[in-house]
């Protein structure tokens, strides 16, 4: 199988505008072997609507990734001025006006739920478009292929270069390509670290060799993965490593827009002859352009396949050919299974149904989770307390006969100013509170944006305990603005 050569076929179509490309799909339906060496794919350049869309999406996603950490956000004197910052040492996550403490990582859960539901939604609408346009693997692979084309030329030139004997030209081109790939990889890792520290400071530190080791090792690891995944492995990551294609098959239905080949219109396929009669044959001229542009190396005319990422470059390639031979466009297109069936039954096609039970439910769930998150964000308190009741001993009998319990109270001050609090109890009669190391129960100071811990003893005369265990509340009040946090706990006494 001479997969890696390309010849035109002048004998069959001397004046044809479209040449047949000699290319085999990696998973041809006639021979799908489980175990064989990888067939190298040389994706040909495509032009058209979807290619343009892919360039736009690539520019937008890369811009967000590389620029986001550089956006500034004024949070006052005691907090960082970076809009998006994952501050591990201080255990804070900043996202514009949102500030998240470690115990609030359920926001992350919410975000992941929304992301999953959004993925379900777009998949039910238009198949694996996430994979084809926005998945980082696709974006970086696309970028790497672009670099490859820049240095080594398009498909046929690359094949020729690979087959040619070792020469200075070959070495220079290959080396340039790999160096560029590594530079992109380094920039990828380099951008990642800025999400975890003040970007301008770290930028200077990285180049003056002052940055922490973890920054350099992160850059090294991400350089290696970007280089390997985007440059070397490419479609194999999607086909063999990613679990998503297996799941996604279950998410599309007969109304989803799927990149598909209209075999009722295309077949029987035959090479193109000038001024031929189209009535006795299909529109597909078997030029293999759709296979040559496919970054996954598949033949869309074989039908739905696990490898297809719905990037629609085959649509662009085919439409270009259809224009040149003056046939109707969209022999390959985003189309629904319903329409394929209707055409087979000679019924008129219908507009895709975007509003269906599935899409409505996904949208509703996304809104619900989003609204819950928004509501909790807007009502987020800047004061929180945690209470730990001593387990050992559960209680202590004092010499005057009263029962004492010990507690550790953690006060979380989420404001960026120092605050002073008073601690009190509610629902426990005749309770006497003392705070270890403090006179009285007032004026407990908590530094800005910090947590402070206090040992608190609560003593109650044995006579006022009705039961061996009693519920009551601790109340922590801000002495200035009166903000309160209430938390329930228990008081333990001897068995009654």
């Amino acid at each position: 199988m001479d997969q890696a050569s390309q010849v035109s076929s002048p004998a069959t179509a001397p004046q044809a505008a479209v040449e047949k490309i000699d290319v085999d799909a990696v998973n041809k339906k006639e021979e799908r072997s489980l175990y064989k060496a990888r067939v190298k794919i040389y994706p040909k350049r495509a032009t058209g609507t979807f290619r343009k869309l892919k360039w736009l999406v690539m520019a937008a996603t890369l811009a967000v990734y590389y620029l986001a950490p550089w956006i500034r956000w004024d949070r006052g004197p005691n907090a960082p001025d970076q809009a998006i910052l994952i501050d591990f040492p201080a255990r804070r996550f900043y996202f514009f006006f949102i500030e998240i403490w470690p115990e609030e990582v359920y926001y992350l859960t919410g975000l992941l739920i929304i992301a999953a539901l959004a993925l379900f939604l777009v998949t039910s609408l238009a198949g694996r478009v996430w994979c084809g346009y926005t998945c980082p693997q696709t974006v970086w692979t696309d970028l790497f292929i672009w670099v490859e084309r820049l240095v080594e030329g398009d498909r046929s030139a690359r094949i020729r270069l690979d087959k040619s004997p070792l020469s200075l030209n070959k070495v220079v081109r290959k080396a340039t390509k790999h160096v560029l790939w590594l530079l992109i990889g380094a920039a990828t890792g380099g951008a990642w670290i800025f999400y975890f520290a003040d970007a301008p400071t770290l930028f200077v530190d990285v180049f003056t060799l002052q940055a922490p080791l973890v920054a350099y090792s992160t850059i090294a690891v991400l350089t290696a993965t970007t280089y390997t995944f985007g440059g070397m492995m490419r479609e194999q990551v999607c086909t063999f490593m990613c679990p998503w294609p297996r799941i996604q098959g279950a998410l599309v239905d007969e109304d989803s827009l799927i990149v598909s080949y209209k075999d009722d219109r295309g077949e029987p396929r035959a090479p193109f002859r000038k001024n031929q009669d189209w009535s006795a044959r299909g529109d597909c001229i078997d030029c293999n352009q759709c296979v040559a542009v496919c970054p996954m190396g598949i033949d869309i005319r074989d039908g739905q396949q696990l490898e297809c990422i719905h990037c629609a470059l085959c649509i662009d390639a085919c439409n270009e050919v259809m224009t040149r031979i003056d046939r109707p466009l969209n022999l390959i297109s985003y189309d629904t299974y319903v329409n394929h069936e209707r055409r087979a039954a000679n019924q008129p096609t219908q507009k895709p149904r975007l509003i269906r039970a599935r899409t409505v439910i996904y949208s509703a769930l996304i809104s619900v989770v989003g609204l819950i998150m928004l509501a909790t964000l807007l009502t987020r308190s800047t004061l929180d307390i945690n209470i730990l009741h001593d387990r050992n001993p559960l209680f202590v009998t004092l010499s005057d006969g009263s029962i004492r319990n010990g507690y550790t109270i953690k006060i979380l001050n989420k404001q960026h100013d120092v605050r002073r609090f008073e601690v009190a109890v509610e629902g426990l009669e005749n309770a006497v509170i003392s705070v270890v190391g403090h006179e009285g129960t007032s004026g407990l100071e908590v530094p800005a944006d910090r947590l402070a811990q206090f040992r608190v003893f609560v003593a109650v005369p044995a006579s006022s305990l009705a039961d061996e265990q009693q519920d009551f509340d601790f109340v922590v009040t801000d002495l200035v603005d009166g903000n309160r946090a209430v938390n329930d706990t228990i008081f333990r006494g001897p068995d009654k």
Partner: protein, 289 residues
Amino acid sequence: MAHNVEKDAVTGVDTTGHEWDGIKELNNPLPRWWLWTFYITIVWSIGYWVVYPAWPLVSSYTEGMFGYSSRQEVMDRIAEAKEAQSAYLGKIESASLDEIRNDGELLNFALAGGRSAFAVNCSQCHGQGAQGFVGYPNLNDDDWIWGGKPEEIMQTINFGIRSAHDDTRFSQMPAFGTDEILERPQINAVVEYVLKLSGQEHDAALAGTGQEIFVEQCAACHGENGKGMRELGAPNLSDSIWLYGGDRETLRATVTNARYGVMPAWTGRLDEATIKQLAVYVHSLGGGE
């Protein structure tokens, strides 16, 4: 072992001869990347034999090129930790208990050190939370037989109670019953009086008789109103805290047979810095004076 190797009709591939419930396994080659990974792991493991201790010999083992030993690694870490602590321990050794308690950093270090030393040396008798058991005082409460000031606590830790040390603290209560100092009815009367002292239900008439006996026999150590005397290690009998129990039966047994607690002297066993940390820790439990 493989038997019945045959050609699979559909794929044209040999089977391995293995068959389960009519399902036959095809003898397809392994993916090449898988094979390479397998070979690399083998090479990698040889590297391990060379670098790390690996092969058992008759009376020893191969030590590896770099003499790596996980035990040595632990020893180094312990030495490192000790080195890091030595500055604090030195300060604690030279500082007074009050100085330790007034220096936030030293205090935190002492409390952490005291907690771990307590868990190792003291918790067997006094409990993990220092909550005590019958006969072993609860160190969280505000009742102290020998005193609850930091220095007094340290004194007790240093020399113990009834220990072999010359400076040990020592208390002795006569066994009024077994030594036949008091008759049984007299003991009963004293018990009623002690119940009265601590505010419990009692027989008023008997307690009256008991008071006379108490003044005569017990007040020398426990004081006339039963408040106890720390110099002698005589417990306060008028409060709600009982080391051995404050009910009628237990009190009668105590007066009849007497009770003696024992605690070892820790000076000489623990270094001075550790004892100081223990004193600070015990004092911090909530009952210290």
